[in-house]
Amino acid sequence: MDSVHLPALQVVVPLLTAPIVAVLRDARLSWLAAVVTSVMTFVVSVYIVQHVLAGAVLSYQMGGWAAPYGIELRVDSLNALMLLVVSGASTLALLAGRQSLTLQIGEERLPLFMAAWLLALAGLVGILVSGDAFNIFVFMEISSLASYILISGGPDRRALPSVFKYLIAGTLGATFYLIGVGMVYMMTGTLNIADMEARLAGVGDTNVVFVAAGFITIGLALKAAIYPMHAWMPNAYTFAPNIVTAFIAACSTKVALYVLLRMDFFVFQKNLVDHESQFTYLLMPLALLGIVFGSVAAVFERNIKRILAFSSVAQIGYILLGASLISVSGFTAAVLHLFNHALAKSALFLAVAAMGLYFARLRLQVLRGAGRKMPWTFAAFVVAGLSLIGVPGTAGFVSKWALISAALESNLVVPLLVLILGSSLLAIVYIGRIVEHLWFGDATDKAVQIGEAPSWMLAMVWLAVAANIWFGLDSSLPMALAQQSAIDLLRQLP
C-alpha cells in the first residue's frame, strides 16, 4: 500500500481496531492495543503532513467512485495540521494514562472504554479528512457517541448528568448541522463540499442558502462550545476521567470549529451575498464575549479542571476572533491558535491527571501544597500554564503574537488589543492562583502523604511541555501550514 491510501488509513486503522479491542478480556492488553493504534494514526498523520508540506492536496475516492457520486477524502494544509493535533493528543494521553485509567475506569471495563477511545479518535479523524458534508455528520456522530462514553466513565456521579447534557447539546448541534446541509443539498443537489462550493454560485442569494449557512454555523458553534453555547462544556470536562479530559479538551471542540471554518470559508464565503456580516455581527461579538466571560469565570472558579475548562471557552473565543477578522493574517492566527492551544491544554490536563492519581477531587483547597510534593509535575503545569498565558518561548506566545498582529491590521485595533491583552492578564491571575495554592498553600493532610507522579507518566507530561517549548521557539511547521491554509481558503474571497 503506497502513500495514496494515507487519508483512508488514517481513519480505517482505528475504526477496525476498535471492535477487536472491544472483545479483548485483558485490560492491559486493550490499553496496549489502543496505544499502538494511536501511534500508528499519529505516524500516518506525520506522513500526511510531509506530503502536504510538499504542496500536495491528498484526495481519495472512497469505493473508487469519483466525487460527487462517491465520498471523497480530501486533505490540505488545514486538516493536515488538525490531524497532527488530534492523533498527537490521543497518543500522548493514552501513553501517559495507564495508571490513571486503571484507577478511574477499573480493569474490568477498560477494554470497552479503550474501544470507545479509538472510536472517538477515528470519528474526529474521520471528520477531518472527509470532503463530504454528510459524511462529516456520520463521523461527527461516531466521535460524539464515543465521547459520551468516555466522559460517562468519570468516577464522580455528576459525570452522568453532565454527559447527558452534553448528549442533548451535541445531538441538537449535529441535527442543526444536518438541517443546514439538507438545505444546501436541496439547492445544489450535491453533498461534496467542493462541488457544493461550485454549484452554490448560482443560488447564493436565496433565503434558503442564507438560512442554511446560519443553521450550520449555529449547530457547529454548539458543538464547538462557542459562548453562549458552551453550557455543556465545563461540567463535561470537569467530571470526565482525567485522561479523557486531556484528550477531549485538546481536540474535540476544535474539530467542530474546524468544520465551522471549512464550511463558512470554503463553501459559503464566496457564494453567499453579504456573508461577512455573519462574522462581523454574530461571530465576532460572540468571540469577544466568550473571551471576556471565559477568562472572568475562570478567575472565580475553585476547581482546577473547571478553571481550565472556562479558560477553553476564552481560548475558543480567540480562535473565532482570528477567523472573524476575515483576513489572511487573522485566519493564520486562528489556525495557529487551534494548534498551540491544543498543545497547552493537553499538557495542562496531563499534569492535572498526574495530580489526579492522588486526589479524587481537584479543588484548589484540596490540592494545597501538592506542588511541593510533586515538583516535576508542578513545574510542567507551570510551563504549560505560561504557554496558555502566552509568555514568549512557549507556543501560546506565537499565536498570541499572530493574533495581535492581525488585530493591528483590522479597523478595531484598540478594543481588540485591550481585550486580547486584558484576558491574557486574567490568565496570569487564574494560573497564578493555581500556582500559589499548589506551591505555597499549607499542605493538607492528604498532600503530606503523596509523592511524585510515576516517572513514565511524568515523561509524557514533559514531552507535551517540550512540544510547547519547541513550537514556541521554532514555529515554522505550524506557521507554514497555517499560512498555507489561510491562503488556500481566503483565495476565495471576492
Partner: protein, 118 residues
C-alpha cells in the same frame, strides 16, 4: 392553494421541529427530553425525504428492468436510513445514561451537575 400544498411538507417539518425543540428545552424529565429529541430528529427525516420526492415518481426500485419510469431520488433516502440508525443509537445511549442517573440520584427529574456539592 397550490403553493400551500407544495410547501406543506416543509411546514410540517417546521412544526415538528418546534415541538421537539421546545420539549428538549423545557422538559426537565430526562426521558421526556429524549422523546423531544427523537421528534426533533424525525422532523429532519421528513425534510430530507420530502426533497427526494418527484411528481409522478415511484420508489427508486426498478421493477421488471424498466428504467424508463420516473423515480424519486434515492440519495436522500440513503442519508435518512443512516440518520435513523444514528438516532436510535443516540437514544439507546441516552437511555442507558438515564438509567444510571436514576441509580445514582434516585430520580430523573431536574438533575443539575453544577450544584455546589463537592
Amino acid at each position: 392553494m397550490s403553493q400551500i400544498l407544495n410547501l406543506s411538507h416543509y411546514w410540517v417539518f417546521v412544526l415538528l421541529l418546534m415541538i421537539g425543540f421546545y420539549a428538549v428545552l423545557t422538559r426537565t424529565n430526562l426521558v421526556k427530553k429524549l422523546l423531544g429529541l427523537a421528534i426533533f430528529q424525525s422532523a429532519v427525516f421528513l425534510l430530507f425525504i420530502s426533497m427526494g420526492k418527484i411528481d409522478g415518481g415511484t420508489a427508486p426500485i426498478i421493477l421488471n428492468d424498466d428504467w424508463s419510469q420516473t423515480f424519486s431520488s434515492p440519495l436522500p433516502q440513503v442519508l435518512i436510513l443512516t440518520a435513523i440508525v444514528v438516532g436510535i443509537s443516540t437514544l439507546a445511549l441516552g437511555l442507558a445514561i438515564v438509567v444510571r442517573i436514576k441509580e445514582a440520584y434516585g430520580r430523573i427529574d431536574d438533575i443539575d451537575a453544577s450544584s455546589s456539592e463537592n
